[in-house]
Subunit: 423 residues, 2 copies
Amino acid sequence: MGFPVYQYEKSAEEYRRALKVIPSGIYGHLGPAEGCFVPVTAFPFFSDRARGAYFWDADGNRFIDYMCAYGPNILGYNDPDVDEAAAKQREKGDCITAPSIRMIDFAELLVDTVASADWAFFAKNGGDVTTLAVLAARAHTRRKKIVFFKGYYHGVAPWTQKIDYPGILEEDVANNIYVPWNDYERLAEVFEENRGEIAAVISQPYMHGNFTDNQLPAEGFWQKVRRLCTDTETVLIVDDVRAGFRLDLAGSDHFFGFQADLICFCKALANGYNVSALCGRDFLKNTVSGLTYTGSYWLSAVPFAAGIACIEKMKRLGLPKLLHEKGLKLREGLVAAAQKHGFDLRVTGMPALFYLRLADAAGDSAGKPPTPSFMLHQRWIAEMVRRGIYLTNHHNHFLNYALSDEDIDTTVAVADEAFAALG
Amino acid sequence: MGFPVYQYEKSAEEYRRALKVIPSGIYGHLGPAEGCFVPVTAFPFFSDRARGAYFWDADGNRFIDYMCAYGPNILGYNDPDVDEAAAKQREKGDCITAPSIRMIDFAELLVDTVASADWAFFAKNGGDVTTLAVLAARAHTRRKKIVFFKGYYHGVAPWTQKIDYPGILEEDVANNIYVPWNDYERLAEVFEENRGEIAAVISQPYMHGNFTDNQLPAEGFWQKVRRLCTDTETVLIVDDVRAGFRLDLAGSDHFFGFQADLICFCKALANGYNVSALCGRDFLKNTVSGLTYTGSYWLSAVPFAAGIACIEKMKRLGLPKLLHEKGLKLREGLVAAAQKHGFDLRVTGMPALFYLRLADAAGDSAGKPPTPSFMLHQRWIAEMVRRGIYLTNHHNHFLNYALSDEDIDTTVAVADEAFAALG
């Protein structure tokens, strides 16, 4: 077989060092605390450097990276245009007592670009802006309850966590209502049952949760949700932190043919420079003005300059279409490689942020661990990762502009070998 | 008189542009929403660039900056050593799918430097780590209530806000208990009244709230609080986001002769590069490992490299002592200038993050608006700012290493003129 199988000696050594001074050594999906059912021994734990579509781990192994730092890397690591704009701004200044005028330029660009944006408010985490959106909705409506769709992820603030997670109180989630995705009837019932009490519906543009096939909106679903929110004066919040700018530069609500009242951006906003944004419609601007919401680095100018360069480049490239095409080519190649070896690989979600699942076991529909096909899928993912294709087994993936046709061909060739190894 | 009085035509023009696309045009203390009683017309709204102890506004006016971006700027804007380390790391990579080993190096350095740190967990905002501290305390103790000292600021998460702030619910603050600063008797009573229910005490190392003279801990106060927390197995959280590294590189708890269980850092951690950290003692490490807590940019390597360079430089310089001396010199000069013109200027808090108040009106003790002396103080601050000395009237200030003796002399000379202008 052609592809070397990676070893992670240095990563393992660094992990032992990390365990002494960092809780769980590494946090996020590879941390033991998460219970993420990741075949962690197949993964490199620490990176050394990155460029374009690749990163190199602590052992010097190179990976074609389909996680893109969980989203921020949309143009390729160290994109020259974004880095140049950022370096130029850094020379002038970054985190200064008074905000840079770059903040205004960036807000103007978002207002020009994003269909639902009459204004923009900048922060740092995706969770900063989902929390801001909920505060704004409550302040505007003077109501308390928030409707979520099951499978949601809106950050790690206590109100977004589950009641059985450590440290979370019943008060944190007392005003949350959970409705199945795409179930408009149930949503309408919930509105009926909580008449005059629902401040907002918060939702990702489509269901790209973990451990389950991603689900696009059913025909007309978003339009009905939009109408219900309008009729009941409920704020419709789209959490576009994960999907933002990969489907449509005008916002994923625009892509699915409706208009959010508030839309949250973070990951792909500045190609890895640290910034998030809440954008929204005029009728909520004064409400947001009245909230107490600020942070130490929120006015930093370098991420604004990077964000401007990133959005301008995405526009020049017409990026979402390119990512869509790359995703289709990759899907076709992976599914064919699976079929060749007699496997049924399901690729769901939008091609630019696809979700993978091997569906080869009786009675397995959702892929929720620990079914036989889930374990088979894990083994396949492990074989891919050990051969330099950085995928994960339970989370959607992300494409970036630097990923070449040749990289996709390599990925498919590795998949062929990885399926053979399952044998 | 010698110092030119600044005009802000370009700032005003930019502000009009900002108002169209940003809620309240500018947020934070100069925004109209905050009700901060700042004489806003005396202030520049937007910056163009910064270097060392200075920034230049959109009109090209230069300011000696005593706000330091509200804290992050501790070595001087664009410190060459920090910027070089950051640039070197950026060349390798920043926000990558797998964390850089710089994260481990940074954690090791904090464990070596900070007395209460057996481990470090990194995030982005100060509020990310105050919230993490509270989650950890609740998870560890399986109790709900948190004791705050009145005048506190622990970020903008809903649990830190006030019940009458827009968007905040009673559930958000239902488990908060507020005790007057330095009032150990009341604290002990509260512990008695809520026996077995208090998860944590969270506090800044001394009271550096807004609109009031800062108050250092009373003799023995912290030692008694520490003993009470230990006796009742309550987690003692020190929020060192604002004061951290300006008093003592080993932590402000160390400075005041006690040991926190959890200590929160942000502002001065990396000289403006975007990172925050929760550090803590071994007995809480497993609890933190078990929490669900992560963010899109939290593993970015550039801020880790910057933080390492920043802390190493602060250690080489023995920075807190230098800042203390600068602060004493400044205080002496400002008080003398006030006296010369018959004014009583009170300088409170630690010299490296001093608070100012003109106390010239009968019956005015706290400086809370809108007493006559508060308005006089505002007028003086406005005269200072218009002459290039960036102070504020209701918030503590911050010193940085780049501030020279000559800058302090200039500040005192401007103060002389500004007091004369009050006449």
